[in-house]
């Protein structure tokens, strides 16, 4: 009955739609976000954005993560899912749980955990490298502008790969085993089966997970960066979301922050559309 939707609809309008509209509206104003009257300044916030070196750097860093993280996450998830479902591993259940584990940890816990893994002196990574005789390559991973983004990317991939793996596993389980059996009889190697059966049959799921993963990076990177690097060293790991937060809440530049928010919104919609277009195929 339609009436049952009303409370939900009201809440949706009140807590989702209205604030979202406000973001768009407030992005045209000069406003500290505290007590003053917002002053209309048209598109100035948007123009400023593209003269702001820090914003452009943050955008570049975000772009790096948006490209690197989904690619590796989904690739690893796909390969793992395929191995776990297609082989007769006895420990299948354990691996599935283990790989999925990071997805149920809070982002804050993950960030703290990894900042200790990367700890320059007592960290697991550097100590491990020293043990293997690679001590000369050990470095302050989060403190060096050349490595910091990769280090963060690894954390993000680790966090998400298990989640997508489980999605893919469910997908693979629904592929008819006959296909694999027939391919096997025809002499197709497991690798060929992966390329020609698994990936095409999962294609629609993969398309969706690409978009999920891109949006996941946008939101999760905020927590990970805030805790692990605070945007450092010297803004080399600043992402748009952390910069938005800084402008809104530490620089009292709310209108500008909202403009960044609008930009991120448009940016991710366009990215999703592009990804959707690129991965489009005829019905198989």
């Amino acid at each position: 009955m339609a009436a049952c939707l009303i409370p939900g609809l009201i809440m949706f309008i009140l807590f989702k739609l209205y604030p979202a509209m406000q973001v768009f509206y407030k992005s045209f104003f000069l406003w500290t976000g505290i007590g003053d009257k917002p002053k209309f300044i048209g598109l100035k916030n948007f123009v400023d954005m593209f003269h702001d070196d820090v914003f452009l750097l943050a955008l570049r860093n975000t772009g790096f993560l948006i490209v690197v993280v989904p690619v590796f996450t989904l690739l690893i998830a796909l390969v793992n899912a395929s191995i776990l479902t297609r082989t007769k591993l006895k420990e299948k259940g354990i691996y599935r749980t283990l790989f999925f584990f990071p997805s149920i940890l809070s982002f804050v816990v993950i960030a703290i955990l990894w900042s200790f893994i990367y700890h320059p002196t007592i960290g697991f990574l550097n100590s491990g490298m020293e043990l293997l005789g690679l001590g000369e390559y050990a470095m302050a991973w989060l403190g060096d502008s050349r490595t910091v983004l990769w280090a963060l990317a690894v954390t993000l991939i680790w966090q998400a790969a298990g989640y997508y793996m489980v999605i893919y596993m469910a997908g693979i389980d629904s592929i008819s085993p006959d296909l694999y059996e027939a391919a096997g009889i025809d002499g197709a190697t497991p690798f060929k089966q992966f390329i020609h059966i698994t990936i095409p049959m999962l294609w629609e799921i993969i398309r969706i997970t690409i978009i999920f993963s891109i949006n996941g990076v946008l939101t999760i990177s905020f927590v990970i960066v805030t805790i692990m690097t605070a945007g450092g060293p010297d803004r080399h790991s600043e992402v748009v979301m952390t910069y938005l937060y800084q402008q809104a809440f530490t620089n009292s530049n709310f209108g500008y922050a909202m403009a960044i928010g609008v930009f991120v919104f448009v940016f991710s919609v366009i990215l999703s559309l592009i990804s959707n277009k690129l991965t489009e195929r005829g019905v198989s």
Binding site: M1, I6, T32, G35, D52, P233, F249
Partner: protein, 464 residues
């Protein structure tokens, strides 16, 4: 089945209506009660009756002081009622109220996450002028004479440079370099008085298996504790004003070259900067220091309490050095940091808030604050009043100030509204690149010169 559907529809509607009604009700009753309080104020002049809503930061000092001082105040002022909101994230709690035009009557805002809201209020000119409270003599001398010298005149309290006080000082901390006192005593190492002496200790540091220096790498803002006193040491108030008021020429001055050159020296000298410092957060860096991985680290008087559960090398004892000077003739310096209390311009009950603020500065309150919060207020002789309650280390730091350690303080001028720059971030965050040797001093100064030119231009434009 049908009945069931109708029932659920009715209940759904009822729920949504009650939701809306709930919103409407609460806001209207709110304004009603405050209105009543407002009219009450007008009636009685002496003791402003009514309700006082205060919002306080609940950090390392806790909230016990505020609970008790409010009780005392209500006892001494019958008919008043104080409601306290306390939280470590107090800014997040009060922000919606301020936006809605219904701020608390008095706010004690401290802690790095919360302070930006004060900057916002300053930008908005949304604070009450408190000058009268400090200037009025009610028989026992004006309140301003009770404060530590120089505090009320500083930009932290008088942000617009017109001498009017908009922020009231509360607890104060002393910030500078720290060392392990036990190590220095046992090996009879002399504490350095000048930078030359400090850098000469690098060999001693190495002999004792530690680097000379570390800092809170992810948050290079901590380096202001070294930089600000150093600027003052070399160039006096004039250079400090240049630095805080965005005079681009500061970045071409000798003062800049020497102070930042010093910071860079830590990175350039062998064993100067603890390995991996740039990648450490404050807790990690401070723990490393206490475990004997570095000889010196900047931090404030809260250090001992902040790290009370952290592992440390055997016999570790906190020792406060301050900031060495450049010339052997001048005194050791330290930075002071003073917490602030404000009354928002839109406060519903400013008279009572002012009354309460005065009450905070009574001797009774200062003692209570020391006892409950283990903190020292920015008033004369507060350290001695607090002595029975604070640790010896902390007391000695405050005493050192009385014995000739010079305190330096300063705040960046508030940037123009809508400016995308946060000069503090720009100045300090960029230091990471210096420390990583990915930027030269000249590149740094060029970048800052450009930033200062733009910020001061924005300020000029917005003033017109």
């Amino acid at each position: 089945m049908k009945w069931h559907k109708i029932l659920s529809a009715v209940s759904a509607c009822a729920l949504s209506v009650s939701l809306l009604a709930g919103c409407g009700n609460s806001s209207s009753s709110d304004s009603g009660s405050t209105d009543a309080a407002g009219t009450n104020d007008g009636g009685s002049k002496k003791v402003a009756n009514g309700e006082l809503n205060i919002a306080v930061f609940q950090g390392g000092y806790g909230r016990e002081y505020w609970d008790q001082i409010s009780d005392e105040f209500m006892k001494d002022h019958p008919g008043t009622k104080i409601n306290i909101t306390a939280s470590p994230k107090i800014a997040e709690l009060v922000r919606p109220k301020i936006v809605a035009g219904n701020p608390p009557d008095l706010m004690y805002i401290a802690g790095g996450d919360n302070l930006p809201i004060l900057d916002g209020l300053i930008k908005d000119k949304a604070l009450t002028d408190l000058s009268d409270i400090f200037n009025t003599d009610e028989g026992s001398g004006a309140l301003k004479d009770k404060m530590l010298p120089g505090v009320l005149e500083s930009r932290s309290m008088a942000p617009y440079g017109d001498g009017k006080i908009y922020l009231a000082p509360f607890n104060f901390g002393v910030l500078g370099l720290w060392y392990n006192k036990t190590l220095f005593d046992q090996k009879s190492i002399q504490t350095p008085k000048t930078w030359d002496e400090l850098f000469a200790m690098n060999a001693t540091a190495k002999d004792n298996g530690r680097a000379l220096f570390t800092y809170q790498g992810l948050y290079p803002g901590y380096l202001d504790e070294v930089i600000i006193p150093s600027i003052y040491d070399l160039g006096g108030q004039k250079a400090l004003d240049q630095f805080f008021d965005y005079d681009p020429e500061f970045w071409k001055s000798d003062v800049f070259k020497q102070v930042w050159g010093n910071i860079q020296k830590f990175a350039n000298e062998d064993n100067g900067l603890m390995k991996g410092t740039v990648a450490l957060n404050h807790t990690q860096a401070q723990t490393s220091f206490m475990q004997g991985k570095a000889m010196f680290i900047p931090n404030g008087t809260w250090f001992e309490d902040e790290m009370k559960d952290a592992p440390r090398e055997e016999g570790f004892q906190f020792g406060f050095l301050g900031i060495p000077s450049f010339n052997s003739g001048s005194s050791v310096k330290a930075m002071s940091q003073i917490e602030q209390i404000v009354i928002p311009a839109k406060a519903k009950n400013p008279e009572l808030a002012a009354e309460f603020l005065k009450y905070i500065y009574t001797d009774k309150s200062i003692k209570l604050n020391a006892e409950k919060s283990k903190a020292v207020m920015a008033v004369k002789d507060a350290a001695d009043l607090a002595k029975p309650f604070i640790s010896e280390t902390t007391y000695n730091v405050y005493k050192a100030v009385d014995n000739g350690m010079e305190l330096v303080n300063g705040t960046f001028k508030t940037v123009a509204k809508g400016s995308r720059y946060s000069p503090k971030d720009e100045v300090y965050k960029t230091i990471s690149s210096l420390m990583n040797k990915q930027m030269t001093l000249d590149q740094y100064s060029d970048k800052m010169y450009k930033m200062y030119s733009e910020v001061s231009k924005e300020l000029k434009d917005s003033a017109e």
